[in-house]
Amino acid sequence: MKKIFSFALIAIIAFGLLAAGCGGTTPAPKSEASKDAVPADIKAIKDRGVFKAGVKVDVPKFGYKDAKTGKIDGFEIDLVKAIAKKILGDENKIDIQGVVAKTRGPLLDNGDVDAVIATFTITEERKKSYNFSDPYYTDGVALMVKKASGAKSLKDLDGKKIGVSQSTTTKKALQTELDKLGIKASFLEFGTYAEVKAALDSGRVDCYSIDAAILFGYLDDSVVILPDRYSPQEYGAATKKSNTALAKLINDTLNDMKKSGEIDKLLQKWGLK
């Protein structure tokens, strides 16, 4: 018996140390110490000579990887380029990697990417963990159903199953709408967007719900996207909590682009307006 306890104790201590160790590695912001010098987080990017960003690769018009050319392109990629130009003076000095909803947070935390610009909805809860820029795009949650189901609106989904993707804000947003209508639906969560679509195809769920922009990437002949949009989802560029100078720089860049009309131009270029 004694052995069991001592083992359990060791296990708990080991986990605790691991936890404390990881928690303690977050560097303190250094921007206050040297006001004139380049802040450490931006200097790191300059020294490296490349701006690393996490983007979507499966959301048409925002971040989409062309299967033929292997090139990732989209509105958010253009934003990454604009930021790289601001920091490094060259919009091609970027290193973009595909992220999914679930990897966005960890990749920022461990420093694999400097910023995530990947249809990342700003929420109060998330702001506690990461810096978010002001919103650069507002989307709405939409519903995709099978044509054969005949569903026309959220009302028709009473008692049905709604598939959503993990690490998204869809579930909370839709629950509020369901409560307003006084109807009930259950939610099933899947790891990737493609899995939710597979679940819709196999009839495991009756509806696939996520931000409209993402949903359009999965449109095919057997399904239809309903016209309603729910609870505006504001997309922001996220950075690691400690990289405050970088967060400010990104925010300023995006805001300047909004003022100068550059963002509007990009939105038109990608047909998002």
Binding site: I4, F7, A8, A11, I12, F15, L18, A19, A20, C22, G23, G24, T25, T26, P27, A28, P29, A101, K102, R104, G105, P106, D109, E125, R126, K128, S129, Y130, G163, Q166, S167, T168, T169, K171, K172, L188, E189, F190, G191, E195, A198, A199, D201, S202, G203, R204, K241, S242
Partner: protein, 223 residues
């Protein structure tokens, strides 16, 4: 600066403890039922594998080779996303029990077949000479001796069966891993969520492994 393990994230987790409890219970239920299925399939499958009849051995090979040489993930995905296209929609809980039970049943069958093979042929022959039939000899002479040999590898299987129930997270199975994923990915407090989830799996597996080890020692004495 809040890292992945910041204090407020732990507090948020302890506030939502019911979510984790719910998942923990589902994991326990699936584990118990899948374990029962795996052991029954394993014992039958193992005896078939050691049977003198060639057809029975062939049945065993088909089952074991097919299940062992395809990933569990694919088997589960097939049951969940594939079967509905063929008109069979199994509830996800049943998929957990069936999928994981059948998968580990194949491994248990191999352990048991090996255990039977390790008992010297003379034991079977002397049982025959006493008038036992094949199945009687198995039941009363060979299996009781094989038990001692197969216990350690079967313990391994039991523990990995429990851990493998986490594949259900992929198909919205409502198990512990699913709830940990779901909870931690909506608020991105993944640090504490996965530490606690890991400890909860440890809390099931470790006592079980201890108990099995004790059983091994007892068998050692009686043998």
């Amino acid at each position: 600066m809040p890292g992945p393990f910041a204090g407020f994230k732990w507090l948020a987790l302890f506030e939502d403890w019911q979510i984790f409890l719910e998942g923990f219970l589902v994991t326990l239920e699936v584990s118990c039922l899948a374990l029962a299925l795996a052991l029954s399939l394993g014992i039958v499958g193992g005896m078939l594998g050691a049977a003198p009849n060639r057809f029975l051995r062939w049945v065993n090979r088909c089952y074991v080779e097919f299940i062992q040489n395809t990933p569990l993930v694919i088997q589960i995905i097939f049951l969940y996303h594939g079967l509905p296209h063929l008109g069979v929609t199994l509830p996800v809980f049943l998929i957990g029990v069936l999928g994981i039970g059948v998968y580990h049943g194949a491994y248990v069958a191999e352990s048991i077949r090996a255990g039977i093979g390790a008992i010297s042929r003379g034991q079977l022959e002397s049982a025959y000479s006493q008038g036992f039939s094949y199945w009687q000899a198995m039941r009363h002479v060979v299996l009781p001796q094989a038990k001692r040999i197969v216990l350690p590898p079967i313990t391994n299987q039991v523990v990995s069966l429990i851990k493998n129930t986490s594949v259900l997270a992929m198909v919205a199975g409502g198990d512990l891993m699913y709830h940990a994923d779901s909870w931690s990915s909506s608020n991105l407090y993944y640090g504490p969520a996965f530490v606690i989830t890991g400890l909860l799996y440890l809390a099931i597996c470790y006592p079980l492994a201890r108990q099995a080890r004790r059983l091994e020692r007892e068998l050692e004495v009686s043998a």
